[in-house]
Symmetry: C2
Subunit: 367 residues, 2 copies
């Protein structure tokens, strides 16, 4: 995930009051408190980790979905069929975050008995950061995987139009004193948000990031925003077909396996035209099924020790990192000093506070 | 996987006699006939699919490992602990292909009851094409995944030296009249063999493929062969950290989870210095656990219909493909017309035939 720099002139908010306020706000939409607690937890986790694009900044769009009746804020997901190792959940067109938490916890619980278990969810919505669900497993000492399909933005290799989403892959595992390894990556070269940022800044683009509507490489953000993102790897000659293949695998395990919408049939992101019917996939593996407690974690700690001590290329901007390390550092700083959100984000939250009569707690804005 | 063009002046060999001869040859090394059958099947499957780098061309190297006592050609892998959903196999330092077939079949059998099951293997060797094991699941209507760690060739983002292998990811699923989707991809931008080909042809390299020993981009094959491959995505600014993250995830699920060698601790490819102790991971998911028979396959067929009908970019060399399509077409042609292998490959097989007194069948060389 792209870790966003602190916005200039931003507002510093405290995570715990932000979570509390978010849960109260969701309650006003008719979301039961336990469901609202999950959604608030996951949105604020994204803000804490520096992923501003997937956190509380999205609240106005979620509220619009609920108000349009396109998403059911009071829905209760349910598990409707399966075998011990693979269950299928119906998200009941409710909050994707809550359905995801339930389905992942279900996979974790079964993996603690079986060693390995999976859940798929259909009839669900945008679930925020894919990594949170994988981390849920790693917090319990397991290896977790979380996948979701998303609205079509990426052109398969050789295609001119978007047919697949940025379909993220998240995998997390406990890593001893390194905390956790958390890979959370879109299978496109860059997220669409990166192009929007380039547009605001008047930057040009690198070939391989996106194509324009005619299928040629997009070298300006304006052209790219009318076209499609390229899969990880970029053009065909630089192995972009691998990113396309990964996006297709995510689609197979989520929308296709789950019986949800898939590929080009998914509606636009946060569109209020119809329900999203996204698909998600969760896998949990328990290393203790095959080894002594702590043995896996100890070996992963050793591997991270080795990787992060590697000699550097001449122009390296810093040491070798492991996936999830910058986000974990940001989360620790957020918990200590608050989350810095931009003025527009803060103003949007203030509008929601006013409209739904949920005052900000006094402690929301940090000193 | 890179699909190799037919070599100029190559020899056309028939797949079935090649498999039969390979199995007899392996018998002379002390490999039991059932084990030899698996190895021959998987090596020839690679040749049939156009992946010359992972097929019978490797026989001289495998023979050298067996003769050096670094690999045990007569070994019997065994399953030594686990829970119903996750088993651990000891490859007994034997043929990776046979251990892989056993561990994957074990995962498939358990997934047909549980819905989802995995196996890990440690103390094993190079297993040929990762895709074969995933296809084994797809042939039975399941979704299969196969991962292996490999000798260090890839530099993590910012690192100057190789620390991880080209760690492939293979996923296969049944796709109705499209046969199967089979993604089988290294997590590096290109395989090392591609650089060796460039060296023979006197070509320069694209930045992002490899770095030299000083950590700068390698623009000639000679410099690259002394340095390291770059992970999928290439440099940091083009998201090479995603390929690094994927390679690390493969390492976590294979060597680290399996308790095999991992990362920079793995010896060189086909080195006879010590045993390889590679790790492999297999996952099988049964869509029928959560849906009507054929429903998953029908939806995947529909998605492939949509993707392959997409309008094309201006300079597209052909239609949109799905992963595994070129390899499946090549396998059909190989079965019809024979496999075209290069003269050096054929001469090496002839040397083995002579040394081990295993004559080529009359039908080996096709008309």
């Amino acid at each position: 995930m792209p870790l966003y720099e602190d916005p200039a002139g931003g507002v510093r908010v405290a995570p715990e009051p932000l979570r509390h306020w978010t849960a109260l706000l969701l309650g006003r939409l008719g979301t039961p408190s336990d469901v609202a607690g999950d959604v608030a937890e996951i949105l604020v986790a994204s803000d804490r980790r520096g992923i501003a694009s997937h956190g509380t900044a999205r609240l106005p769009q979620y509220v619009a979905l609920a108000e349009a009746g396109t998403m059911d804020p009071g829905a209760r997901p349910f598990r409707h069929r399966g075998r011990p190792g693979l269950a299928r959940w119906d998200g009941a067109n409710g909050w994707g975050h809550h359905a995801g938490r339930l389905a992942m916890d279900d996979a974790i619980e079964r993996a603690m008995t079986l060693g390995c278990a999976a859940s798929v969810v259909h009839n669900t919505n945008h679930y925020g950061i894919a990594g949170w669900y994988a981390m849920r497993a790693a917090e319990g000492g397991l290896i977790g995987m979380s996948l979701t399909n998303t609205s079509p933005l990426v052109a398969p290799t050789r295609a001119r139009i978007p047919m697949l989403g940025t379909n993220p892959i998240a995998v997390a595992a406990p890593a001893g004193r390194h905390g956790m390894v958390v890979l959370d990556m879109a299978t496109s070269t860059i997220p669409r948000g990166r192009i929007e940022v380039a547009a605001r800044r008047g930057e040009t683009l690198i070939a391989g990031w996106a194509i324009g509507p005619d299928g040629s490489p997009a070298l300006t953000p304006e052209v790219a925003l009318q076209g499609a993102l390229q899969p990880l790897g970029g053009e065909e000659r630089t192995a972009g077909y691998k990113g396309y293949g990964l996006a297709l695998v995510v689609e197979m395990l989520t929308g296709v396996l789950g019986g949800a919408a898939f590929g080009p049939n998914i509606i636009g992101l946060f569109s209020t035209e119809a329900k999203s019917d996204l698909g998600q996939f969760y896998l949990a593996l328990d290393p203790e099924a095959i080894d002594e407690p702590g043995a896996f974690e100890g070996r992963l700690e050793q591997l991270i020790d080795q990787l992060t001590a590697a000699p550097l290329i001449p122009d390296a901007p810093g040491p070798v990192l492991y996936p999830g390390q910058p986000e974990a550092e940001r989360a620790r700083r957020s918990d200590r000093e608050g989350i810095v959100i931009d003025r527009e984000h803060f103003a949007n939250l203030a509008l929601l506070a006013e409209r739904f009569h949920v005052d900000f707690p006094d402690s929301l804005v940090a000193a």
